[in-house]
Structure formats: C-alpha cells, structure tokens
Symmetry: C2
Subunit: 216 residues, 2 copies
C-alpha cells in the first residue's frame, strides 16, 4: 500500500533566505515530492493549519531541499544552511588540460610548445592509468579543494559543516549528475546559529612518525 | 648483466641540513643502494674526484633520501627539501575512536555515555562498510589534511611541493609501511630556493553550477 506523507520543515526561502515553514507531500519509499502547487484542497488546509505560508512562488523551487533532506539521512544542516555545496570529482579532468594550459600560455606563464608537450604528456599518462588510480586522485583532490572551500568560507565570517555521510547513489540520481563525476562531500555553509561543539585532536606523536612506522 | 652505477646527488646533510654532494652505488634495476661505508677503494676515489665529502657519519643515514629519489621518479625536490612528509591514510582509523572520544570526555566536552554510544555507533558503521568506501574516506580525508599541512607550512614562512606522482608500491616497500595504511601524497617542505611558477585557475563558472549540471 502506498503511504502519502505531508512533510513540514523549516527551511530558507529560496528568494529572501529567511526561514519559513515549507510543506511537501511525499509518497513513502519513492523519490516523488510534490509542492503546494500540486496539493489537494485538503492538503493545502492541513499545511495552513500547521503554520505553513502557502504561496506558489516561494515553494515551487524548494524541490532540491526536500530531496536533499532524506538523502543526507535527515541531517538538518542541509535544509537550515544558507547554501549547500556538493563537491564532485571529475573523472575526465584530463579533458580540461588543454584549456588550463592554454590559459597559462595566454597569461604569459608558459611558452606554447611547453604547454603542448605538457598536455600530450598528461593525456598519455591519464589514458594509460587504471580507472581506480584516477578515482583515487579525484577523492584526494576533492579533499584538498573542500578544505580550501571551508577555510575561505570561515575567513569570510561564515561557518561550515562537512557532511560525508549521505546516500551518494540517491544524490547522484536526484540531481541527475552524469557518471563523469563522483560525489566527494556536501559542505553546508551559513552563519552559525550557535557555536560548534568543541573537539579534541590526537597528539602529533600519535599520528606522525620519523622515517619508520612504530610497531603496533 | 648487472650494471653498477655510482650516483652523486646534492642533498641536505642529515645532521646540519646543509647541502653537500652525496654518493651511493646502485645496482641498476634493483632497490639495492650502498653508502660510502661499503664502497670499494676505487669507488671511494671516484666519488672524491667528483667532489663528494666522504665521512662515514654523514652518509650512512641517507638511505631514505637515496631510496626516495627513484621512487619519486627523480623529482629532485624530495632530496633538496629540508623535509618530506609522506601523508598516509589509516584504513583502520576506527581503532582510534575510543581514544579520541575518551579525550573528549576527559576534556569535559562530552558525557561518558554519549562518547560510549558514539564509539559503538561508528564501530558498527565501519564494520559493515565495504572496504572501498573506507578507502574513499581515507583518500578524501588525506586531501583535507594535506591542504591544512601545506597552508600551515606556508603560514610559517616555508614553501611546499605536493607530489602525487611517485611509485606508491615501491614507497610502501622501501619504508616498510604496513597494509593498514595507504599512501596519499608526498609533501616536500623547505625554504623556496626560487619562487614557484605562476599558475592560472579556471573561472568559477567553469567549475561550479547551481542546482543542475550543464549539458556537455
């Protein structure tokens, strides 16, 4: 039996970013969500009774937020944050080599023939690399980029929540992301509603070793 | 036929970090390197003729440097840098959970029962996770850590060279690293001998998209 739910969450307005109650109907076990423009009269009344402000232009584009909530295992930061950046790895990044080295030539940083031989070198290298090695590079580079993103965000006065635990398969489907890309992490960004929990770090002697690994 | 080479490189003294000529003999095609303490008289003379300062205590501990040079496909930063940090990923990182949460309890950041249930939660989660998912986390977290390492290093007035292209299998063997760990990257650290090459970045519109991917 199909079970239909009326879900009400507090999320940012897609236009003014203010928090408001948003409603959506959801057929349990599916990825189908309907906004208020597709509600029955009974559903509209039920939502209004729960304090949802029904106005078509404010709710119609919230599909991504509703979809992301169950995908992120209901971690509420994905709907409460001002923005969520999904960091992706490009498995065909080598296709960008010509553009990047072309820009380096245009900027006067590199002679054209050096750029040409670099592009040839890397294109050859990538074409002979096992897919697993390319994925490893994408995961590591994704970590490098994510750290920069979080530190730059913090430097601008915002806070971030990196989210590694989410349903990556469903995320790729919901946002129709091509297989060229792999999901790295979600980074929720916004003004912190309250300070983060304080955390500890292992001592450097627990994680760093000189020339050889300690015996376990 | 075995071919023996006398290799002379300029590398930092293991003790005073000053650059000096270092010699080693190497049987081509093998990982066997011998320092001056195992040189024949002829080899000693040949090294001296090329300006190598032969003194046992200065050359005997350079094994790691000699080994790392061919492993890093002869990228000279690995021998010229003041230090090389090999960033590793720990595939059994969950074994540290109890220690980390214990420190959080000791610091007064978390009640003991919360820590206990977190450790149980994550231990259960990791034990049911496919090995490939754990590796992906290690590669991404390795990227996060490497970026922090490079930025902290830079903030202290040093420069870095991240090296992703090296023989990871040989690296693991040469430094006898257990299979618990996976190699992420090498980070050469030191005072820059000359400024780095200027580089370009793709425009944000080339790499970031709002809500959906552009059609290719």
């Amino acid at each position: 039996m199909l079970c239909k739910q009326l879900v009400i969450i507090t999320g940012p307005c897609w236009r003014c970013r203010k928090f408001m109650k948003l409603a959506v109907t959801h057929v349990v076990g599916t990825g189908d969500y309907n906004g208020p423009d597709e509600f029955s009269k009974e559903e509209l009344n039920m939502a209004r009774d729960h304090g949802v402000f029904i106005k078509k232009q404010y709710s119609q584009t919230s599909k991504e937020i509703y979809e992301l909530l169950p995908i992120a295992f209901n971690q509420k930061q994905v709907v409460e944050a001002s923005a969520v950046v999904a960091v992706l790895g490009d498995l065909e990044n080598i296709r960008m080599a010509e553009k990047i080295y072309g820009q380096a030539v245009d900027a006067g940083f590199m002679p054209a023939d050096t750029a040409k031989s670099m592009v040839e070198h890397y294109t050859g290298m990538y074409s002979s690399m096992p897919p697993e090695a390319i994925r490893q590079i994408a995961y590591t580079d994704g970590g490098l980029v994510s750290m920069q993103l979080m530190l730059v965000t913090r430097a601008k006065g915002y806070d971030t929540v990196p989210i590694g635990g989410y349903d990556k398969q469903k995320f790729m489907e919901a946002f129709r992301i091509s297989e060229r890309y792999i999901p790295i992490m979600l980074v929720a960004i916004g003004k912190a509603a309250k300070p983060g929990h304080p955390t500890v770090r292992l001592a450097v002697d627990d994680v760093a070793f000189f020339n050889e690994m300690p015996k376990e």
